[in-house]
């Protein structure tokens, strides 16, 4: 191994500083959420307690946190499933380079870069003028899809650009129909990436604020609820909520990574029958 150049140590230090910058604030509120009952929003700590976490579970203290959480969770799952299905279909479509695909592609990119508040405003206005009731499961759902679908599509592009088409050819040569090829060859191969798309869909939806602002209706999602709290809650209960939502994200993402890892192991074990005389 070559000796490390001096720049390596300089860049390592830079990287560590970058990590401190990324983690510092989150750690700060993590610590502050264990503030004693008399403590405020800043240091010093006045004792250490679980008081503010307990406070979160007394509904009257902080509004409808748990209702908001349930709605965000349900919405996240809806968005997740839709994102996976629609992105895979669109990804397959784009492989065929059908006429007009360029227009659809630029539409998706526009959807990604358009300021979120415009979607919120536009969808809100349409529902209003059509006399429809805005609701998180209708207008909110659609608005969030304009943000998750383009991401899903971009991931599918990356996946299919690295996809070895000879597997499909082999399946076709063995007489598989298009559907059988998709079901038994393409989908299993891209499955780990689909977990990535699902994870993206869920977390983007779970955290989406601007696109849901004018489209969620009278029942708030969790980010909207947190936003409301920031303007009228002046106790560390909001930090406790922050710490809990962070832990929740950890749990979701951790289990997804575990799933990918398990699939990888299973594949290594059962994936190939080469040399087994089958």
């Amino acid at each position: 191994m070559d000796r490390r150049p001096p720049s390596f140590y300089f860049l390592s230090a830079f990287f560590v500083l970058f990590l401190l910058f990324l983690y510092g604030p989150t750690f700060t509120i993590g610590i502050l959420s264990f503030q004693g009952p008399q403590g405020g929003l800043t240091f010093p700590m006045r004792g250490v307690s679980m008081h503010w976490f307990a406070d979160l579970f007394q509904e009257q203290a902080v509004g409808d946190i748990w209702g908001a959480f349930r709605r965000s969770f349900a919405l996240g799952l809806m968005v997740m499933v839709t994102t996976v299905v629609v992105s895979v279909m669109a990804g397959l479509a784009f492989r065929k380079r059908f006429a007009g695909s360029a227009v659809l592609f630029y539409l998706a990119i526009t959807s990604l870069v358009i300021p979120s508040i415009l979607i919120s405003l536009g969808v809100g206005l349409i529902f209003n003028q059509l006399g429809l009731k805005i609701h998180w499961a209708t207008s909110g759902f659609g608005s969030q899809l304009t943000w998750t679908l383009p991401f899903g599509l971009l991931i599918m592009f990356a996946v299919f650009n690295r996809f070895d088409r000879s597997f499909e050819e082999a399946a076709r040569d063995q007489g598989a129909t298009a559907w059988q090829t998709l079901r038994h060859v393409v989908l299993p191969i891209i499955a780990p990436s689909l977990i990535g798309v699902a994870l993206f869909g869920f977390t983007l939806s779970y955290d989406e604020f601007a696109r849901t602002l004018l489209t969620a209706g009278s029942y708030n999602t969790l980010p909207l609820e947190i936003f409301g709290m920031t303007t009228n809650v002046t106790t560390p209960v909001i930090y406790a909520l922050g710490t809990l939502t962070t832990l929740f994200s950890f749990a979701v993402i951790g289990s997804c990574l575990l799933l990918v890892w398990l699939m990888g192991k299973r594949r290594a074990r059962f994936g190939s029958d080469a040399g087994k005389g089958l």
């Binding site: 860049l11 604030p25 279909m89 669109a90 397959l92 059908f98 998706a108 679908l149």
Partner: protein
């Protein structure tokens, strides 16, 4: 029956995506454009075809200054996110030798982004406030005697929050393109006597351009469309176009909000059109 026409099959598979985009992207934009010509009273909006909203927008000095500060935020944030993002991506791609380690370090960078945006924003407050950690540390070190007032609720804190929120959007695409650079090109540069800096300047930078452009598009559009970070971190003392729109919405002045939104949309699209001249995104995925 088997469908054999690839255009037809392609369209069938693309129908759901198209429907969502038409209903929740195209239709809302059209609606915003229409409403931007409408009029408003204090309580309601009414259909009309008048240019009042635009006349007001283009005539107002306040609006102009808000647009200028929007560009200012975007530019400064871009400079910082690019400098940090490029350095971090460079370190991960060229100085870390094993793939496992690269992936592990990269994941460590993404973990803070698993927390809610708004939580990440408010987590700066105990840090930067008058009695926050930053001020107390600086005072205890004897660097300053009085707490710095400009740390929180200032342009400084707004840009700090932007850099905190969006640097990863720069790291990911740059890292992605750097990983695809053929390492033998770097060796060739070294064999030809190029210094480390020359290699960076003449080999790595040009080859990383597509990633830089994609990151730039993300950062610039996110910052230009933002309204919540500016409101939080400036303590409602600064404004950008996004805030202008959300204020109008709060006052139920939808036609005026719509007109501002149209101007913002055009601005963003022009910026992106300029950036896209440097890169073909479809080829880069």
């Amino acid at each position: 029956m088997q469908i054999r026409n690839r255009h037809l099959l392609g369209w069938l598979e693309a129908v759901p995506l198209t429907l969502v985009l038409v209903a929740f992207l195209v239709a809302p934009i059209v609606m915003i454009v229409i409403v931007s010509f409408w009029g408003a009273t204090e309580f309601s909006i009414y259909p009309a075809f008048q240019f009042d909203n635009y006349a007001y927008l283009f005539g107002s000095k306040v609006v102009l200054s808000v647009f200028i500060s929007t560009f200012k935020y975007a530019l400064i944030t871009w400079i910082f996110t690019f400098a940090i993002g490029f350095t971090v991506a460079y370190f991960l791609a060229f100085h870390i030798r094993s793939l496992t380690m690269q992936v592990a370090l990269f994941l460590i960078c993404t973990i803070p982004f698993w927390t809610s945006n708004i939580i990440r924003m408010i987590s700066w407050i105990p840090f930067l406030g008058r009695n926050g950690i930053a001020n107390q540390t600086l005072i205890s070190w004897g660097v300053i005697d009085e707490p710095l007032e400009w740390l929180l609720y200032s342009d400084f804190s707004v840009i700090l929050a932007f850099v905190h929120l969006y640097t990863l959007f720069m790291v990911v695409p740059i890292f992605n393109t750097m990983m695809r650079i053929d390492k033998s090109l770097l060796e060739a540069a070294r064999d030809n006597g190029a210094s480390g800096f020359q290699t960076l300047r003449h080999v790595i930078l040009p080859l990383t351009k597509p990633g830089i452009m994609i990151g730039t598009i993300f950062v610039v559009t996110l910052v230009m469309g933002d309204f919540i970070t500016v409101r939080f971190m400036s303590g409602s003392q600064s404004a950008n176009v996004g805030r202008l729109i959300s204020n109008d919405i709060g006052l139920l002045q939808y036609p005026s909000a719509a007109a501002t939104a149209v101007v913002l949309l055009c601005t963003v699209l022009i910026v992106i059109a300029i950036l896209l001249r440097f890169v073909n995104i479809r080829k880069e995925l």
